[in-house]
């Protein structure tokens, strides 16, 4: 007698698909975060935000019959590891949605995998202006792009400080820092600010003295920098050591309290556009701050965005009729409108990018303070 292999497999497959539709279900949310490597400083904060939000959602009982569970993996700040992690989350952990990866650079490599498998991805820290959500209709984004944050922030800052000449330094070996530079260049041109000089560096660099000496020699009013946090800290410290006392405007990579820890007093007078207004007195934000305080964590924008990412997924599950399948989450995202989050009222734009109001902050007395 021949064993009906084919129908047996079909039955197994049917069972596997039927699984997630049962009444009391656990919905797994995967996260690919940079816990090691150059972006490790962001990943740690993101993990905190995700875990806090999942406890918050599960504790609130907002999703009846659904329990969220986090599966957090380290993408090591690299594309290669990111791809391995995505494959694991999609095929082994069977997650309903993936948060991450931390870096835009990694996202360009990993997200096509999720798109092919129809697994919804929520980018919570990718800020490259173009290409992330263009990967496909499964890719959604909570983080505002550099294109959404930088032009407004520079305009506000110019109105305050009245600078006319800028020098620009950027990392040209990373999708995120290069894209940030493109936005800065366009924004400076729009504001009719003269660019006196441009220099580049690479991620592994620790010495920026040559570039900075050359830029500062052009006598700019402001130094504009697109860099990830480790480079950013070194650049700020070395610029001050070379005698630069003027303002430094940084891209989103500067948006981390590690900057003050690393660069110390040199960080004073650094301006950064931000998607998260720490000083906001919205209820969702004060609640988030209190929650983080109770966990003994000093949150940053990355933490707030990762936290928001989970809230958005929970809302999508709710909008889909409290169902946590991959397609349900995706269908639910389209219905997220004006959701109260620490970032403000959150909605998705038609191109699946996030939409809320940005702010600008300055380092003063060792802290980020919102520039009013």
């Amino acid at each position: 007698m021949r064993f009906p292999v084919r129908s047996f497999l079909a039955a197994l497959a049917a069972l596997a698909f039927a699984g997630p539709a049962l009444a009391q279900q656990t919905v797994r949310i995967g996260a690919a975060l940079s816990m090691t490597g150059p972006a490790a400083a962001y990943g740690a904060n993101q993990k905190t935000g995700i875990l806090a939000a999942i406890d918050e959602v599960n504790g609130s009982g907002a999703l009846k019959g659904v329990k969220l569970e986090a599966v957090i993996e380290d993408d090591a700040s690299t594309k290669e590891q990111g791809i391995a992690v995505f494959q694991k989350l999609i095929n082994q952990s069977k997650v309903a949605a993936i948060i991450g990866p931390t870096l835009s650079n990694t996202a360009f490599a990993t997200n096509p995998l999720a798109q092919a498998a129809k697994v919804p991805v929520v980018a919570v820290s990718n800020t490259a202006p173009k290409g992330i959500t263009d990967i496909g209709d499964s890719i959604w984004r909570v983080s505002l792009t550099e294109g959404q944050v930088i032009p407004g922030a520079l305009k506000t800052l110019q109105a305050k400080l009245g600078f006319k000449k800028a020098a620009v330094l950027y990392g040209n070996d990373d999708a995120f820092t290069k894209a940030g530079y493109d936005v800065m260049k366009a924004a400076l041109a729009d504001l009719k600010i003269q660019v006196l000089g441009e220099q580049t560096f690479a991620k592994p660099d620790r010495d920026y003295n040559a570039q900075l000496t050359s830029l500062l020699g052009t006598k700019p009013d402001i130094l504009v920098v697109s860099a990830l946090i480790e480079n950013a800290s070194g650049i700020v410290a070395q610029a001050r050591q070379l005698g630069w006392k003027g303002p430094i405007f940084g891209g989103n990579g500067f948006n981390n309290p590690v900057l003050m820890k690393n660069a110390g007093p040199a960080a004073e007078g650094v301006y950064v556009g931000t998607a998260w207004n720490r000083a906001s007195t919205d209820e969702a934000n004060t609640k988030f701050l209190a929650l983080m305080k109770s966990r003994g964590v000093d949150p940053d924008q990355f933490c707030a965005q990762a936290y928001t990412g989970v809230l958005v997924i929970a809302e999508a599950i709710k909008q889909a009729g409290t169902k946590g399948g991959r397609d349900d989450v995706k269908a639910g995202f389209a219905k997220v409108k004006g959701l109260a989050t620490p970032l403000g009222k959150f909605s998705f734009l038609p191109n699946r990018d996030g939409d809320h109001t940005p702010a600008i902050q300055v380092v003063k007395d060792g802290k980020f303070q919102i520039l009013q």
Binding site: M35, T36, G37, P38, A40, A41, A44, N172, E198, Q199, T200, F201, A202, P204, D205, R206, D207, N209, A210, Q211, T213, S214, G217, E230, S233, G234, A237, Q238, Q241, L242, G243, V258, K261, N262, G264, P265
Partner: protein, 293 residues
């Protein structure tokens, strides 16, 4: 080129030279590349950092301790990664690979103990005094680095050329078998070469970490390639070459950055390296190859 850029170049060159001195010593003796040199560089920096920040040791205590620790790591390296392979016909390649494995292990250990984040010395570790020279600013630490790398070169030169140990090391470099016949303790001489080489690498690591105030498990990677370029430029195994090429590379890089932009820095450096390899394969100061094995 402005005075400030000359200072920048000399400072960067000092770091390259210090790193390359130890690198080239082992190459000169054993004809193998010790790819774990950058990992020793990194671990020494972490040890100094821990002594200063956790044990509140004075830097003048922490630096020598870290340097000796690096030297001991060199002994470990020699014993585990190189000695068991010595005498094999393919020991050049297998030693290269086992040193690469040790580098990965050292990095993993650093990850485990100190975590992936960049760590820093407390801000008051060094009095941040600045001096005005050549129309630019230079910190006392930067001057120290330039001085230490030249000083180390002189000490090493004296050690290798003028002491009994140096003679033994040179004899082993020439021919381990002949040296053994003449009564040289070959294993001991090689172990010393590793100790000195790694101690130099460690010193470079601590000074590098202090000057950029940045210590992370992957901090050695950028310097490793440059160090390799420097010892090839200078002539494999030549100490004078390592120092001259170190400063030359530092100054060239700064020159390229200030005139062509940062994007061209590595391209020009490695193009120069390529040219040297084509036009003068033994490097600027390399001894002509007399004996083909």
């Amino acid at each position: 080129m402005s005075g400030q850029q000359v200072i920048n170049g000399l400072f960067l060159g000092g770091i390259y030279a210090l790193f390359a001195l130890g690198y080239t010593l082992v190459f000169g003796v054993l004809d193998i590349l010790n790819l774990a040199h950058a990992a020793v560089f990194m671990l020494a920096a972490f040890v100094a950092l821990t002594l200063v920040s956790a044990a509140h040791a004075n830097l003048l205590v922490a630096l020598p301790v870290a340097v000796v620790f690096a030297g001991l790591l060199g002994l470990v390296l020699e014993r585990i990664a190189f000695r068991p392979l010595r005498g094999r016909s393919d020991s050049n390649i297998s030693g290269l690979i086992s040193s690469l494995a040790m580098a990965a292990i050292f990095e993993a250990i650093a990850h485990e103990i100190w975590g992936p984040n960049t760590a820093r010395f407390p801000f008051d570790t060094l009095p941040d005094q600045q001096l005005q020279i050549l129309g630019g600013v230079v910190s006392r630490l930067q001057l120290t680095i330039i001085g230490v790398s030249l000083g180390m070169f002189l000490v090493l030169w004296w050690l290798v050329q003028r002491t009994r140990l140096g003679r033994e090391i040179r004899a082993v470099a020439e021919s381990p078998r002949a040296a053994r016949v003449l009564g040289v303790n070959v294993d001991r001489a090689i172990a010393w070469a590793f100790f000195i080489s790694s101690a130099l690498g460690g010193a470079a690591g601590v000074l590098f970490a202090l000057s950029f105030n940045s210590v992370s498990p992957d901090m050695g990677r950028g310097v490793e390639l440059k160090g390799l370029a420097v010892i090839i430029l200078g002539g494999m195994g030549s100490m004078t070459g390592a120092v001259v090429a170190g400063f030359a590379l530092g100054l060239t890089e700064v020159l390229v950055v200030s005139h062509l932009g940062g994007s061209y820095r590595d391209a020009v450096s490695f193009a120069a390296l390529f040219l040297i390899l084509v036009l003068r394969p033994r490097g600027l100061f390399g001894a002509p190859s007399l004996r083909e094995a």
